[in-house]
């Protein structure tokens, strides 16, 4: 990787100032940024280390869980608050990457990276999350502006995300056998007001999206079978060695049904399917 200046921010204000400069990039857990630097996908001239100034608390208030952007996936996975009130999110966090990556990677970093196969974006969309930054609060749909892009202005830092607590929720993904992130991932939630929301990750090449047809079908009845006739359009679906558009679309359909079934079942409501590993019997229909 190219060399860079390194700044250890001692306050959020200092971080914003340094991060607003040209060629600067924020470094939190580093699991996506450093990977990108090693492969020359990004070439910042200065890194601003913000782990020390990002909030990390996890609080339940007003029917929502607010998680500091500096919380690691490992911390979120074992948080009693999250496990109790939003176990699907705890389970999601607990299955990102691998345990060593989870010890460093943060919610803020994942949300800002907005990867096509990222696990948080569909959760944010399906739960109707709010992304808090140093400057404003944004609805998740506004925050995610395209694959790898967000609505953040230069120097603006994500400080926390609030996830409204749903009545039901589940997350299901099928791993790419090589990269071991999602080949397709579905987060479904039945909001407290009874409205279903379902978001799909890793299917479309432009990132996670709310699947409106599926939501409409689920509005009638919130069961997996309600999605039997709902087809994922193949246009714009991502393609790689392990999933072409046709397979990926079918996978998303199957996982959506399973996610709804799981949401109707007992907690924690998370299933990770992986080639070679045991089938999740009971979720097969």
């Amino acid at each position: 990787m190219r060399d860079f200046d390194y700044h250890w921010a001692s306050s959020l204000d200092e971080a914003r100032r340094l991060g607003a400069e040209e060629g600067a990039a924020f470094l939190a857990g580093g699991q996506t940024l450093l990977r990108d630097l090693k492969h020359h996908r990004r070439t910042p001239t200065s890194l601003v280390k913000i782990s020390g100034v990002l909030p990390r608390e996890i609080d339940l208030r007003d029917g929502g869980i607010t998680i500091g952007a500096g919380a690691t996936h490992a911390e979120i996975a074992v948080s009693e608050v999250v496990r109790e009130r939003l176990p699907a999110l705890a389970g999601l966090a607990g299955h990102i990457g691998d345990p060593a990556v989870r010890h460093r990677a943060t919610l803020g970093g994942a949300v800002v990276a907005h990867e096509v196969a990222g696990d948080y974006p569909p959760a944010c969309l399906a739960l109707g999350a709010t992304v808090h930054t140093t400057d404003r609060d944004l609805a998740a749909a506004e925050f995610f502006a395209g694959p790898g892009r967000t609505a953040l202005e230069p120097g603006e830092i994500v400080t926390a995300v609030t996830f409204p607590v749903p009545a039901k929720a589940a997350y299901v993904k099928f791993l790419n056998p090589a990269a071991r992130y999602a080949m397709a991932g579905v987060f479904v939630a039945l909001a407290a007001d009874g409205r279903p929301r379902l978001a799909v990750a890793a299917a479309r090449a432009d990132g996670a999206f709310r699947w409106r047809e599926a939501e409409a079908a689920l509005a009638a009845t919130f069961v997996g079978d309600a999605l039997r006739e709902v087809r994922m359009p193949l246009d714009g679906l991502a393609e790689d060695l392990f999933a072409d558009a046709a397979y990926r679309g079918r996978l998303a359909e199957v996982l959506a049904r399973r996610a709804v079934s799981l949401a109707n079942g007992a907690a924690p409501g998370v299933a990770v399917f992986s080639h070679g590993s045991p089938l999740r019997v009971g979720v097969a229909r």
Binding site: M1, R2, D3, F4, D5, Y6, W8, L27, G30, Q31, L34, R35, L37, K38, H39, L47, K49, S51, A74, G97, D98, P99, A100, V101, H103, R104, A179, R180, P278
Partner: protein, 159 residues
């Protein structure tokens, strides 16, 4: 060039490195702790796993500078020179859980982390927890058995 300072295997170290120096490079090339290995370029193989502030991390995906003020433990620090092997190391040796040895340091460090977090986990859980550690030689069979035994031995030590 920036200064770097941290504790490695209980010893305070300082140096001056380029910002882009990865922790694994710092350990191997500056401190000559070559027990930690590099096996891939996509943060997947786990040959580089060490402990930073008590948690398993991939030293190929951390900058040395990020470890300012932190305590780093490498495989060499698990059983310092002359000290008896850590129970997890003993378990690996006794269960033939290493062949070429290249993944072993990272595997042992991850195993210790798993045992600390989850105690005496079952085999299915251990296999899941090893998602970020690739072994090409052993087929994982003996590694899993070793981790079960090592976790039990670690629990016994704590009592």
């Amino acid at each position: 060039m920036p200064d770097v300072s941290m504790t490695v295997n209980g010893r305070a170290v300082r140096g001056t490195v380029e910002g882009r120096t990865l922790l694994v490079e710092y350990l191997r090339e500056h401190l000559h702790l070559t027990g930690t290995h590099v096996g891939c370029d996509t943060t997947q193989c786990g040959a580089c796993v060490v402990h930073v502030d008590g948690l398993a991390v991939k030293s190929c995906t951390m900058l040395a500078l990020e470890c300012k003020g932190s305590a780093v433990t490498t495989i060499e620090g698990l059983a310092p020179h002359g000290a008896p092997l850590h129970p997890m190391q003993v378990a690996f040796g006794e269960h033939h859980a290493l062949q070429c040895g290249y993944c072993t340091s990272g595997m042992v460090m991850m195993a210790v982390d798993i045992a600390r977090r989850l105690g005496e986990a079952d085999e299915a859980t251990i296999r899941d927890e090893l998602k970020g550690n690739i072994c090409r030689c052993t087929g994982y069979h003996n590694i899993v058995k070793a981790i079960v035994a090592g976790a039990t031995a670690m629990a016994a030590e704590r009592e």
